[in-house]
């Protein structure tokens, strides 16, 4: 029993030993974006758009990031990442770690107001699904799973 109690301590110790050595020099600074600006961009889009709201301090965002990266590589719709209430260093480190090659355009919203203006909430993560022309088809709150992401991409692509 004592050996079993030792296991969590070992895991925590190993986790604490790990340092972040992510190179962010290849990641460009994220441009700032306002609500109206992004809404206008979505309205002009001729293709469906998935907007994922994330932050480097958000643990669930880390959890869904590999799925979004894979989806952005595979699907034909456009992906936009909206970083909120974060700093450049944290955001660029997150991108270098999770989205180094993914075709996702990232923007920064330091105040975190843009998701509310898009029709969402201030919580993260959020994933918006927009039809061509900027119509909001679906808003998913919280961590998204593969099935839901695939279904909603299919919906906006079919729409």
């Amino acid at each position: 029993m004592r050996s079993l109690m030792f296991l969590p301590a070992l895991v925590l110790a190993l986790a604490a030993c790990g340092g972040s050595d992510v190179d962010i020099s290849d990641v460009a600074e994220l441009p700032a974006v306002g609500g109206n600006e992004l809404i206008a961009e979505l309205a002009q889009s001729t293709e469906p758009v998935v907007v994922n709201v994330w932050a480097s301090w958000c643990v669930p965002c880390r959890s869904e990031a590999p799925l979004l990266e894979r989806a952005a590589r595979q699907s034909s719709v456009r992906f936009i990442g909206l970083n909120v209430r974060d700093d450049q260093q944290g955001a660029r480190t997150f991108i270098a770690e999770f989205f180094p090659e993914a075709p996702i355009e990232h923007y920064m919203d330091a105040d975190g107001d843009v998701p509310v203006e898009l029709g969402g909430t201030r919580g993260v993560p959020l994933t918006f699904f927009f039809a061509p022309g900027g119509e909001l088809v679906k808003l998913h709150t919280g961590v998204i799973d593969e099935r839901t992401l695939a279904l909603q991409i299919d919906e906006i692509a079919a729409g």
């Binding site: 643990v59 959890s63 679906k138 961590v143 799973d145 729409g159």
Partner: protein
């Protein structure tokens, strides 16, 4: 906060508990029903933990560097490793009478899986690939009708759960045969419905096919062992 996943887990656990209790009242597993419930819960937790770790590693996320991510079950659980961990937990905790334990949980596990799939109603995630069938459903605001694929799976599994429970109550099957049959049915139900699930290409078909193969081997082994010893299930405990 978003609690629909928790709701779906509740919908899965209730039938699991009800079938264990029902079988206990029918005398199928009277002496170990309490243990069965504990073993089932332990197997669920072990399965979730290992399945989550496997999903993280598969996504390239180091669980040691990101231990908090392990708790984000919604981020994904790898079904195959989760099932193996759950089965290993049952085998280890019930090692004193392994066949009685796995058989005792067979119908309950099918009912729990049926509840999990039926819990899609709570999670708003029942729909699959597009379909023109009369019972196909569209999500709110959409004109695209789709297979209610999780309902298909739930129906298959609940019918199988009732069948296995009745079989155990009336047919006195050979030890190990109900458990192998339940695994065969569960893997088959998933494999049959998998093409109707929206996916980004990480379908688990090979895991389900492997589950069917393992279940068939276990079934043959249980029948051979049972016919060799001619030992009824109630006497294995």
């Amino acid at each position: 906060m978003e609690f629909s996943l928790l709701g779906a887990v509740f919908v899965a656990v209730v039938p699991l508990y009800l079938v264990i209790s029902w079988e206990a009242r029918r005398g199928n597993a009277a002496s170990c029903a309490r243990n069965l419930w504990d073993v089932a819960l332990a197997a669920m937790v072990a399965g979730l933990f290992v399945g989550r770790l496997a999903a993280m590693i598969g996504d390239g996320v180091n669980p040691l560097m990101n231990p908090a991510d392990i708790l984000i079950v919604r981020g994904g659980v790898a079904t195959g490793p989760a099932t193996m961990a759950a089965l290993a937990t049952v085998a280890w905790l019930g090692r004193s009478a392994m066949l009685a334990y796995v058989d005792g949980l067979a119908a309950a596990a099918l009912a729990g899986l049926a509840g999990w799939h039926g819990g899609c109603v709570v999670r708003d995630s029942c729909l699959g690939t597009p379909s023109d069938l009369p019972w196909a459903l569209a999500q709110e605001g959409s004109s695209v009708t789709r297979h209610p694929v999780e309902i298909y799976a739930a129906i298959m599994l609940i019918v199988a759960a009732i069948g296995v429970a009745q079989w155990r109550a009336r047919g006195r099957p050979l030890p190990g045969v109900p458990a192998a049959t339940a695994l065969l049915i569960a893997a088959s139900a998933r494999l049959i419905t998998e093409p109707m699930r929206p996916s980004l290409g990480t379908g688990q078909r090979w895991w389900y096919a492997a589950g069917i193969a393992v279940a068939m081997v276990a079934l043959v082994a249980a029948i051979r062992r049972g016919t060799g010893t001619d030992q009824p299930v109630s006497e294995t405990k």
